[in-house]
């Protein structure tokens, strides 16, 4: 089937329905393209690093607007494109369209939400059922998830990943050796890269929840020196200010979903890395998207009066 990517981009930007067979073709093409990418993609500066999107399509459009747009700028997205927001499908497809249209300008890294199991619980699956009445589109997207990269390396100096480090990983080559084309397992290096969190801990620690790792400054310092990089850029955790540097600037959390879940009131950030590796943060706020008639199309959080008992 022929695919007019620019036409699909237009539809997506307006939040309009995209036909099931179009999604199928789009996903298939994306898979073919992503298949050829390494687990850790090489990216050149200047580049803009973006954190979690979580289906907030209108804020994603703002992000592109504030940071130059994919026609002019290179982007690395750190994952968590879907779930929670009302436009997971449109957000993810828009990124795929850009990837197909401008393959060298956009790198998509897998987040812990880009899995079958998590999307079933946190909204993407429900959204597809609501929009299509069946789960085919969800299945197509999940197959693309399995091909997303696990990380990126910018100018051999900045390592990008969704969650963080793994005790099983010392070198970037060990990440390159992972067989990534699968559902994210519950354990092992691939799982850790998507799930682990930085914390003020002295050494590798278990999360109190009983699964998942926490890592501290010493693990970050060790990784930086072993791999001769100067920064780990990751997402995965909500930050009110949009970004947060830790461990003397050796790690940064970038968060790109403003007013997360339409009620947190946080700002969002993207991080632009210049040729000399200077870091520029751009902060942006949530938009109040409207339909053609000027009505808000994201439900406001006006409390719904009810006679609760």
């Amino acid at each position: 089937m022929s695919l007019d990517i620019d036409a699909v981009i237009d539809l997506l930007k307006q939040g309009k329905h995209v036909k099931e067979e179009t999604v199928y073709t789009l996903c298939l093409r994306s898979q073919e393209l992503l298949m050829s990418e390494a687990n850790v993609t090489h990216v050149d500066t200047p580049v803009t690093i973006c954190g979690d999107i979580h289906g907030q399509l209108h804020d994603l459009l703002t992000l592109f607007e504030k940071s130059g747009g994919v026609e002019k700028t290179r982007y690395v997205f750190l994952g968590d494109f879907v779930d929670r927001g009302f436009y997971s499908l449109e957000s993810f497809l828009l990124l795929l369209c850009y990837k197909l249209r401008y393959p060298d300008r956009i790198t998509l890294i897998r987040g812990n939400h880009e899995t079958r199991q998590i999307t079933k619980v946190y909204g993407f699956y429900d959204e597809i059922m609501r929009k299509y009445g069946n789960c085919n589109v969800w299945r197509y997207c999940c197959e693309v998830f399995d091909y997303l990269s696990l990380g990126a390396i910018i100018n051999n100096s900045i390592f990008c990943v969704h969650g963080g480090l793994s005790p099983e990983i010392n070198t970037l080559d060990e990440i390159r050796a992972i067989d990534r084309k699968q559902e994210v397992p519950h354990e092992g290096a691939m799982c850790d890269l998507l799930w682990s969190d930085p914390e003020e801990v002295d050494t590798w620690s278990l999360s109190p929840r009983g699964a998942g790792f926490l890592f501290g400054k010493s693990e970050v310092d060790k990784f930086l020196s072993t791999n001769n990089v100067e920064l780990i850029a990751r997402a995965h955790q909500l930050v009110m200010e949009g970004y947060k540097e830790m461990f003397d600037g050796g790690l940064v959390t970038v968060w790109s979903a403003p007013n997360y879940c339409y009620r947190c009131g946080n700002v969002a950030a993207v991080l632009r890395i210049e040729d000399d590796l200077q870091r520029n943060y751009t902060i942006f706020e949530a938009v109040q998207p409207q339909d053609g008639g000027g009505n808000a199309i994201i439900p406001t959080k006006k409390p719904q009066m009810d006679y609760f008992l």
Binding site: H186, R209, E245, M305, F308
Partner: protein
């Protein structure tokens, strides 16, 4: 309602922040300055806020001015009362009054007082109502805590380090009896003080498998055991913070025989004041949810407040702690009921009737459905009459 497509694009460019290449310790003053919110953004937020306030005015009022032409600097909401046609029948004896000029116009008219639909940073919305000059009800909604506030709570206010992902630290609901110096408040800080400082023993479903996977024994690096000095589910038996503002006087006393008057509370009496807010929420790293939510509705003769802690650990358990506060205004009577519910995740899932076409797992995201399908474990009741 119409909102300007906004001149935000120019506003935010100035928020681009440059950091030098090699940063930058947290203590560096350059950095702390960057954490603040840009003035222009504040004005934008204020404009947004004033628009949402005017949006609350009942539709019978005069048309609002076109915001497109509003000046870039913030102007406080126009004196709403003067532009509103007063339709109140003066014969109705007033029993309540609005305390916040930002509330929708309500000159003792029994019209509904609803907080702003979107209260965005850095604005706080604080609607309030007083009944019979005795009972004052106030609620406030803000944003989640920022990093500095979180650090402050961790270092100075709480005894554990890993706070919930979203803390609405400025949110509260407060019930006051002005004549008797009594107040009951629901807020996030006090609720988190109720989180146990030991291990709950609860683990996520795949924890055993995860830990048994041989890799942990063969680790090159030593791995610390999980910290067990707080309950990561944030379970709190918080029932509100009771204060006797005069330092003495009556307070709530235990009487489990009491029952809430469901007949009175089931009546569809007109709601004068309504609010619904989250105090804290954490998605347990996508293993479920831990959320504390407070709702209040005030009618002419009584009020009902429901504070619900809901915990769902996927494939492990569900837990609901409900606190209901009921006030009968004329009798100056307060009743507080506390109920604990708990069951295995799968027991609850099995209550799902296939007639219902919903995805059974989505039902477990609905605490109301779970509340109807989970056994009561414990109940207490208290009351006070002034």
């Amino acid at each position: 309602m119409s909102q300007p497509s906004s001149n935000n694009s120019s506003l935010n460019d100035s928020a681009n922040q440059k950091l030098s290449k090699k940063p930058i310790s947290i203590n560096n003053t350059n950095v702390t300055r960057l954490h603040g919110i840009n003035t222009i953004e504040i004005n934008a937020a204020r404009q947004m806020h004033s628009r949402t306030i005017s949006a609350r005015i009942p539709t019978t009022t005069t048309t609002r001015p076109n915001n497109q032409t509003s000046p870039p600097t913030f102007q406080p909401p126009r004196s709403i009362t003067t532009t509103t046609t007063t339709t109140t029948k003066t014969s109705i004896r007033s029993t309540h009054k609005c305390n916040n000029p930002n509330n929708p116009h309500c000159p003792n008219c029994e019209s509904i007082i609803i907080p702003a639909p979107v209260a965005r940073m850095p604005i706080l919305d604080t609607p309030s109502i007083t009944i019979h000059d005795t009972w004052r009800i106030t609620s406030q909604k803000g944003t989640i805590l920022n990093s500095q506030q979180i650090d402050d709570w961790v270092q100075n206010k709480l005894k554990f380090n890993t706070l919930p992902e979203m803390i609405f630290g400025e949110n509260y609901v407060k019930l006051e009896n002005l004549k008797n110096g009594w107040e009951l408040q629901f807020n996030a800080l006090d609720s988190l003080k109720g989180v146990a400082l030991n291990d709950s023993g609860i683990r996520v479903a795949y924890s055993e498998k995860w830990k048994k996977s041989k890799r942990i024994d063969h680790q090159r690096d030593q791995v610390d055991q999980e910290s067990k000095d707080f309950d990561w589910t944030y379970t709190t038996a918080y029932r509100g913070t009771e204060t006797k503002t005069t330092g003495e006087g009556r307070g709530l006393e235990r009487d489990d025989e009491l029952q809430l008057p469901m007949d009175k509370l089931s009546r569809m009496d007109k709601i004068l004041y309504f609010d619904d807010m989250v105090l804290f929420e954490d998605e347990l790293a996508d293993n479920g949810i831990s959320i504390l939510n407070v709702k209040i509705r005030v009618m002419k003769e009584r009020l009902l407040l429901l504070s619900r802690f809901y915990l769902r650990v996927d494939d492990v358990l569900c837990r609901i702690y409900d606190t209901r506060v009921y006030v009968e205004f004329k009798e100056n009577k307060v009743m507080r009921e506390f109920k604990q519910f708990e069951d295995d995740y799968n027991n609850i899932l099995n209550k799902y009737k296939p007639i219902n076409s919903r995805d059974p797992k989505s039902l477990l995201r609905d605490s109301n459905w779970v509340a109807e399908n989970i056994p009561l474990v414990h109940r207490e009741c208290e009351s006070v009459q002034f």
